[in-house]
């Protein structure tokens, strides 16, 4: 870091530990930032589209994961560069808001930054660039809304939803079974969806993974699956018409939070205490039993004696049920979570048609299925696969698909994929560019170029000639006035994405363009980076 000196040659100390910090200013800072962000975008670029490749990520502990999901890749890369981190957050906010298109948003940001770099070289002021991008973004969004189509999600057995899910799953390793998995995802979402309010509570869909079998064996369970078994090996393995008592207090003598001592000073006290203790267990079990419950699920542990008493009273029980599962069960079965034994009443019990233990493989692992819950229809998707990496990736893919379907239920407008929407926006932005009379014109035009980068990238990943295929698609869009012409990634012989049934949600596309533009604007405003030297 450069130092400032006063008249006598003594250095001014402006920042603390100035000597150990490094500083980048002006154009140097812009370029460094842009290059770092682009490096991240470049990594993701090859994952885009149905023929995109996966990334293998090795965690600090040596665990391997293989994924195609943009948000997961950038998260696990452990990026340390401050600007590059902005892109990580970009991908994650797309994931949080929309759940899909996490790769696309980063790639688009990368393309925009690439364009910004050339504009900077031309000597255009960064703020002008970002202004231009902003205006172009508005135009693109407007156009996107105008070309969006409403689809009937009910029609033809929810065919449109299945297709949209297939589009989301198409780029993943499970793409071979995209139709089956898409159907599972659609059924799952529709089961829990509140179609009147157009809302889906994704908490009601539990995704459970279990290695073994293959991806084909993935199935939907109309109930809740919890990775636990009965607390006593000899309890009933199946409870029909279950009345569930959901407890968050252990079957153990109470432990007051206040520190206290019970002093025993005579044999009588000792005996009394013993009786008291026995009484506790008997009472606890009695309270549960009296309420009419025929199964107890507890978030905490059981004492051996209590456990046996439960068995003796024909009261199957499950211990150490995780907090999230407790909540899910409460929602689904209408059970109230009961924090104290004294408060158990028959009204607070949840109801389910059947609770039973199921077994997998040779290693004797068991899980509990709660089916036909009374209130909402909570569902579980049980994912199977040949290895841990496959099931993990399948889980992420299904999550994406579920998000897409949820978005469609909220807002049934779609645009077509295969880069067609980006291309249409690019053409519109280009047209608008000529109307801009100031310096921003260049930035607007560059924005169009950046949008074109997406279909370009798609074509490249599919082994097509990117420039030829984008040029062809562009000219066809113009001459045929058809905004649905895109890149024929799957080589099906048609470029009309409506015929290929490549659906993407409007909300996802809009969000992608807006978020990417915002982040790029933010990066373009940074003109000074001060960081510790060793960073």
């Amino acid at each position: 870091m450069s130092l400032a000196f006063d008249d006598y040659g003594r250095p001014y100390i402006i920042l603390r530990d100035q000597g150990q910090k490094k500083r980048m200013k002006g154009l140097e800072a812009y370029k460094s930032n842009i290059l770092a962000a682009k490096a991240v975008a470049n990594t993701l670029q090859s994952s885009l589209g149905p023929k995109g490749m996966d990334k293998m990520l090795v965690s600090p502990d040596g665990d391997v994961s293989v994924t195609n999901d943009g948000a997961t890749i950038v998260e696990k890369m452990e990026i340390q560069h401050p600007t590059a981190k902005l892109l990580v957050e970009l991908s994650q906010s797309q994931d949080a808001e929309i759940g899909d298109g996490t790769t696309g948003v980063v790639v688009l940001a990368g393309k925009l930054l690439e364009q910004a770099l050339t504009l900077l070289d031309k000597g255009i002021h960064p703020l002008k660039i970002s202004d231009g991008f902003d205006r172009a973004c508005d135009v693109a969004i407007k156009h996107l809304e105008s070309i969006a189509e409403e689809i009937d999600i009910q029609a033809n057995d929810h065919e449109a939803l299945i297709q949209a899910a297939c589009t989301a799953l198409g780029s993943k390793v499970v793409s071979k079974r995209k139709r089956e998995l898409g159907k599972i995802a659609v059924t799952a979402v529709l089961d829990v969806a509140d179609l009147k309010r157009k809302d889906v509570n994704l908490d009601l869909i539990k995704i459970q993974t279990k290695t073994g079998g293959s991806v084909e064996d993935t199935r939907l369970i109309s109930g809740i699956l919890i990775d636990k078994d009965m607390s006593h090996p000899q309890m009933q393995k199946e409870v029909k018409d279950a009345k569930i008592c959901l407890l968050t207090c252990p079957f153990e003598p109470p432990k007051p939070k206040t520190k206290h001592n019970i002093n025993i000073s005579s044999a009588e006290d000792y005996k009394k205490l013993y009786q008291q203790e026995q009484q506790y267990f008997v009472e606890m079990v009695k309270l549960v039993k009296d309420s009419g419950a025929n199964i107890a699920l507890c978030q905490w542990g059981f004492d051996d004696e209590a456990n046996h008493l439960l068995l003796q009273n024909d009261l199957p029980a499950v211990r150490w049920v995780s907090g999230t599962d407790v909540e899910l069960i409460a929602m689904a079965t209408g059970a109230r979570i009961i924090p104290r034994f004294q408060e158990i009443t028959p009204e607070k019990l949840g109801k389910a048609g059947c609770i039973k233990e199921v077994q997998f493989g040779t290693s004797n692992e068991r899980m509990l299925v709660i089916e036909n819950c009374q209130c909402t229809k909570a569902v579980t998707i049980l994912i199977r696969g040949g290895s841990q990496m496959i099931v993990d990736e399948a889980k992420r893919s299904i999550h994406d698909a579920i998000c897409v379907i949820r978005n469609l239920i909220k807002d049934n407008r779609i645009v077509y994929g295969g880069g067609s929407a980006e291309l249409a926006c690019a053409l519109q932005v280009l047209q608008y560019a000529d109307e801009v009379s100031s310096v921003e014109q260049y930035a607007v035009r560059s924005f169009a170029d950046a949008l074109e980068g997406i279909p370009c990238c798609l074509a490249d990943n599919c082994g097509l000639n990117p420039i030829t295929s984008v040029a062809q698609a562009k000219s066809r869009q113009l001459t045929e006035k058809n905004p649905r012409i895109g890149i024929d990634c799957m080589e099906l012989g048609t470029s009309d994405m409506k015929e290929q049934k490549i659906y993407e949600t409007l909300s996802s596309k809009k969000q992608q363009i807006q978020l990417a533009t915002q982040v790029v604007k933010m990066i373009l405003k940074i003109d000074d980076v001060i960081a510790p030297d060793d960073y």
């Binding site: 090795v58 600090p60 293989v66 890749i73 890369m77 452990e78 153990e252 002093n263 000073s265 040949g386």
Partner: protein, 536 residues
């Protein structure tokens, strides 16, 4: 620096690395193929074993393992390469899901990638390779299911099939010379389960000494514990109470309790109370009128003496698994409270005879004539613990396969027959498919055919010659031909009695192709900086 000369800022953490494109792919191919090559010599009836020697500090250094089991070998290896880790992972899953074919699955995935590498070198896009593999896999799977046959579960044929499958599984193991004996033993054990898939009921006890031949199947249940001194050693018509309760002293479970006394007398009083409490418990137990008392936890002298005085045989310190088995076998309930003696008939387990027996040098307790007759025990004998461990693993494999077969019931011919058939199906399909995918389908066929080839090579036979003859034989329509690994010829599998379980083959095919696909799709490997470990 990039091509134009810009200095690229550092994006990842210091020690993190990123490999892209060809470099990444090369890395995964090398790793996966290396792992497959490592285990492939163990494949088949003439496969060799590996010695596993642990590294690192501690006494375990001296404990070595000799094994032929793919999953065991792979599990014990420490590898750095991420693709190799995927192969290890599928082998583990195969072990958990079906218990056998753990080597096959790793080798098949490795061979697929070896073929895949050649295709990539021919400039075929990985996605095209994958597309081809997917077609091939479906075709192979269909053929596999078509050639499988099913027998009625109670028929003699099914029973014979089971024996043959067990023989085939065991033939690649250390006990291959005694495979008939052990196959029979395993089948008997599995048939006792009557279709249940709970391997817990089959207990395996390993005792060094004697020879492998001295191993036997005992139809009772054997607990590796001793009867407490001073109790009867032989009980007929035993009523068994299985408990999980503290029999040393009952600590008070109420939180924050402390004993504070001000004189010696009081101490004595408390002690007496404690003793009385225990006596009270024993009395309650006695009300159930058991003749045998099995407790999971340890039993102190005082209650033990009380129980023994009443003529009850006491077995203490049964581990949890052993206890669960006793409970399951004798139909007892595991008790922790003893306040309902009226339920005595319901909670007590029953068996005809309990006696202390000697196997080798060790005393054990045998429960025979149990209420639920499903449980049985396989007693393994052998010259060293290494042999015993390996025999244990082999028997476990065989049992898993048998249980899977009982569930699934479909069987295929062994001796490489199923792989060759699948390969043939893929090749037929390749002729019909247009486009580059056809290359990948052919590659898939070649990879499948590698399995019998490796089996031949491991046997020291001329694999090129044998496999070609095999192909011709199949082409002629001889559906039941296969490798005869004793003579090095193509034989009739039905005469040789070599059969395999369909489910094992299915799972191996699916898991291997899924893993190969997963690795094939990777074009970028990002390794995070390793976590710094504090030195102890």
């Amino acid at each position: 620096m990039d091509i134009v000369g810009n200095v690229l800022p550092q994006v990842l953490k210091d020690e993190a690395t990123e490999d892209k494109g060809e470099m990444a792919r090369l890395q995964s191919f090398v790793g996966a193929i290396a792992v497959a090559d490592l285990v492939k010599t163990t494949l088949g009836p003439k496969g060799m074993d590996k010695i596993l020697k642990p590294t690192g500090p501690g006494q375990e250094m001296t404990h070595i393992t000799v094994t032929n089991d793919g999953a065991t070998i792979l599990r014990s290896m420490y590898v750095e390469n991420p693709a190799a880790k995927i192969l290890i992972e599928i082998s583990k899953t195969q072990d958990e899901e079906v218990g056998d074919g753990t080597t096959t699955v790793a080798v098949l995935a490795g061979e697929l990638l070896r073929e895949g590498e050649k295709l990539i070198q021919k400039r075929i896009h990985p996605q095209h390779v994958i597309a081809g593999w997917r077609i091939a896999r479906d075709v192979a799977l269909k053929r596999l299911r078509d050639i499988s046959s099913e027998n009625d579960i109670n028929s003699q044929e099914f029973h014979d099939d089971l024996v043959k499958i067990a023989r085939t599984t065991l033939s690649s193991k250390l006990i291959t010379t005694d495979r008939d004996y052990f196959a029979d033993l395993c089948v008997k054990a599995v048939l006792r389960l009557k279709g249940s898939s709970n391997l817990d009921y089959i207990q395996i006890i390993k005792l060094p000494g004697g020879t492998i031949r001295d191993s036997y199947l005992d139809d009772g249940f054997i607990l590796k514990k001793q009867i407490t001194i001073g109790c009867k050693r032989r009980i007929e018509n035993a009523k068994i109470l299985v408990a999980n309760t503290a029999m040393d002293y009952d600590k008070i479970k109420i939180y924050g309790t402390k004993v504070k006394v001000n004189s010696m007398d009081k101490v004595a009083e408390i002690e007496a109370a404690e003793k009385e409490k225990m006596k009270h418990k024993v009395d309650k137990i006695l009300k159930y009128q058991p003749t045998v008392f099995v407790n999971r936890q340890l039993i102190y002298n005082y209650p033990e003496q009380l129980l023994a005085d009443s003529g009850i045989t006491v077995i203490e310190h049964a581990d949890f698994e052993g206890m669960e088995r006793v409970a399951a076998a004798t139909g007892a309930e595991i008790l922790s409270t003893f306040d309902a003696p009226e339920r005595s008939a319901q909670v007590l387990g029953h068996c005809d005879l309990i006696e202390e027996i000697m196997i080798g040098e060790e005393k054990m307790i045998k429960f025979s004539g149990c209420k639920k007759n499903e449980a049985c025990t396989i007693v393994l004998r052998g010259a060293s613990t290494h042999i015993l461990d390996e025999v244990d693993r082999s028997i476990h494999d065989a049992l898993c396969v048998l249980i899977t077969t009982v569930k699934n019931r479909r069987v295929v011919w062994g001796g490489g027959n199923s792989e060759m058939q699948m390969a043939a199906a893929c090749e037929e399909e390749a002729k019909k498919v247009q486009g580059k995918q056809a290359f990948a389908i052919e590659a898939f066929a070649r990879a499948l055919r590698q399995i019998p080839t490796i089996i031949c090579d491991n046997g020291g036979y001329d694999s090129a010659e044998l496999i070609q003859n095999f192909k011709v034989e199949l082409q002629k329509g001889n559906q039941i031909c296969g490798l005869n690994m004793t003579d090095g010829t193509i034989g009739n599998m039905s005469e040789l009695g070599v059969k395999e379980c369909l489910r094992v083959k299915e799972q191996a095919l699916m898991a291997a192709s899924e893993a190969a696909e997963l690795i094939m799709r990777v074009d970028d490997i990002v390794k995070c900086a390793p976590r710094k470990r504090e030195r102890a």
